[in-house]
């Protein structure tokens, strides 16, 4: 089967419950926004293929549950991500303060050289803003990440955010860095079952090449 893309990038959306991760993702993948979304239980993903400087890039974007307790389930899957969007809500102070905790979470569970980006969502609600643009900017400087304010509702900066993150990953990759991205070992959950794995089949042989489809997530 011919591959219809040049690169596959796995991205991850994290941040507090209710900041709008699912809305941001739907805006990007389906170009729609409605008020009938339900809270995310566990994990979900969407695909969109984009053109970037003449290359077809398939973005596989994982959307996670924001409620803290779900981290016990989802963090094991951070390790395959090449890019992570940390999302807060500009009308919610706590969601902004928690970005620090989410970053700590990434440092513990994701690959060392994962590309990170901080997103302040719901910027259409200027009248209810409690986190200034400057503070968002400041935080991103502190952590050395890119920063953007978005609105899933008005489709503001959503494309730009994903394209920027994808471009950064691509750049890093083409410079020959980031080779370890996606090679974060295993979750360790099936150690006692490794014999079964061996019997399974050897499809995983290629999992350590960078842009193949077998990168463990």
């Amino acid at each position: 089967m011919a591959r219809t893309y040049d690169y596959l990038f796995k991205l991850l959306l994290i941040g507090d419950s209710g900041v709008g991760k699912t809305c941001v993702l739907f805006r990007f993948s389906d170009d729609s926004f409605n008020n009938s979304f339900i809270s995310t239980i566990g994990i979900d993903f969407k695909i969109r293929t984009i053109d970037l400087d003449g290359k077809k890039i398939k973005l596989q974007i994982w959307d996670t549950a924001g409620q803290e307790r779900f981290r016990t389930i989802t963090t094991a899957y951070y390790r395959g991500a090449m890019g992570i969007m940390l999302v807060y809500d500009i009308t919610n102070e706590k969601s902004f303060e928690n970005i620090k905790n989410w970053i700590r979470n990434i440092e513990e569970h994701a690959s060392q050289d994962v590309e990170r980006m901080i997103i302040g969502n719901k910027c259409d609600m200027e009248d209810r803003r409690v986190v200034s643009r400057d503070r968002g900017q400041q935080l991103s400087i502190e952590y050395g990440t890119k920063f953007m304010e978005t609105s899933a509702k008005l489709n503001h900066n959503i494309e730009e955010a994903f394209y920027t993150l994808a471009r950064d990953i691509k750049g890093k990759m083409e410079r020959g860095q980031g080779q370890t991205v996606g090679v974060g070992g295993t979750t360790g959950r099936y150690q006692q079952d490794s014999t079964i794995a061996a019997q399974g089949n050897n499809l995983c042989k290629n999992r350590h090449t960078f842009h193949c489809d077998f990168i463990a997530f």
């Binding site: 009938s36 979304f37 566990g42 803290e68 307790r69 016990t72 979750t187 079964i196």
Partner: protein, 328 residues
């Protein structure tokens, strides 16, 4: 939002809104190009087959009254509790919840609940107003009072709302919710240890029953908690079609959560070839997600019958729970 199937609507294909307040997601006059065309057809076909069953079961319940014979009752419940009897049967063994504990609920918990109220069955017309949403909020708040180790866990919103839509009584909904959640509080607590333990139990059962599922999980290094956690947390709500969910709950409320295991194993067995063919984690997740809107999931009568033939008992599940509890 789910275009392959009517996830919530359980009414006759010609009606706009069903008894629980869920809207039919497609127009009556549906043209072939509509994304819902297939779903609407599948639903009509299912309904035509299922209606005689519903009518027959209701007549049987009215005539025989199984409530006095435990064995008869069990058989009758497996075949589906008619909607006119459901309230009473579900509440049959449910005691009042007792004195309110003196512990106070942290503000944060109330906030978490509030956040999810508009995100709970937005397609339900009875839940569209703040008054109804506040009722669901109070029900969840009461649970947080009675089971402080949980506080609030996402997913409970769907369970609470469905119980309320069906029972139409706030106080009894609180009773039943607390009665059903308390024994499973470790599924919903901060570390979700009970859920992970039960996923380990399910894995062990699958090892005997459908081993190819286990080898696929190991090969792709994916845990059941991630794939099926939602099935258990939400008791199949937002996963399987509503009528199927109600049929599973009939059995679960009467006989215990062994039914979640039976249904899960049966659904995985039906799809085991597709699952074994998955080469990546995303393919696997997509395959699992496609189980919800599939025809075997819609055909609830057959599914329950088949799940019953999965020879797993509650004792067996509980014994495995004991065995694995130390690990979590």
């Amino acid at each position: 939002m789910n275009e392959q199937c009517a996830l919530h609507f359980t009414g006759p294909p010609g009606s706009e809104v069903d008894d629980l307040g869920f809207r039919r997601p497609w127009d009556v006059k549906l043209d072939e190009n509509s994304t819902y065309f297939k779903a609407a057809n599948a639903y009509s076909e299912f309904w035509t087959q299922y209606l005689p069953t519903l009518v027959r079961r209701r007549k049987r319940w009215e005539k025989v009254d199984p409530r006095t014979h435990p064995l008869l009752m069990q058989r009758f419940i497996h075949k589906g509790v008619p909607s006119t009897f459901r309230k009473e049967i579900w509440l049959r063994n449910c005691p009042p919840r007792g004195e309110i504990p003196s512990t106070s609920v942290p503000n944060l918990v109330a906030e978490e609940i509030r956040l999810d109220l508009p995100r709970t069955f937005p397609d339900n017309i009875r839940l569209r107003n703040t008054k109804a949403q506040n009722t669901v909020g109070r029900i969840l708040y009461e649970l947080a009072r009675f089971v402080p180790s949980i506080g609030y866990c996402q997913g409970l919103n769907f369970i609470a709302a469905l119980l309320w839509l069906l029972l139409e009584n706030e106080e009894r909904t609180k009773d039943l919710l607390i009665f059903l959640i308390k024994p499973r509080s470790s599924w919903y607590g901060m570390d979700m240890s009970g859920l992970r333990r039960d996923m380990r139990v399910l894995y062990e059962l699958l090892r005997q029953e459908v081993p190819v599922i286990c080898s696929t999980l190991v090969r792709l290094d994916v845990g059941l908690d991630l794939l099926l956690g939602k099935w258990f947390l939400c008791w199949f709500l937002e996963v399987l079609p509503m009528e199927t969910v109600l049929r599973i709950w009939d059995c679960f409320i009467y006989e215990g959560d062994v039914w979640f295991f039976r249904v899960a194993i049966r659904l995985l067995r039906i799809n085991s070839i597709k699952i074994a063919a998955c080469k990546t984690m995303d393919q696997l997740l997509t395959t699992i997600q496609s189980i919800g809107p599939s025809k075997p999931s819609l055909k609830c009568h057959l599914l329950i019958q088949n799940a019953m033939s999965e020879k797993i008992t509650q004792d067996q599940v509980d014994a495995l729970r004991d065995r694995f509890s130390k690990e979590f």
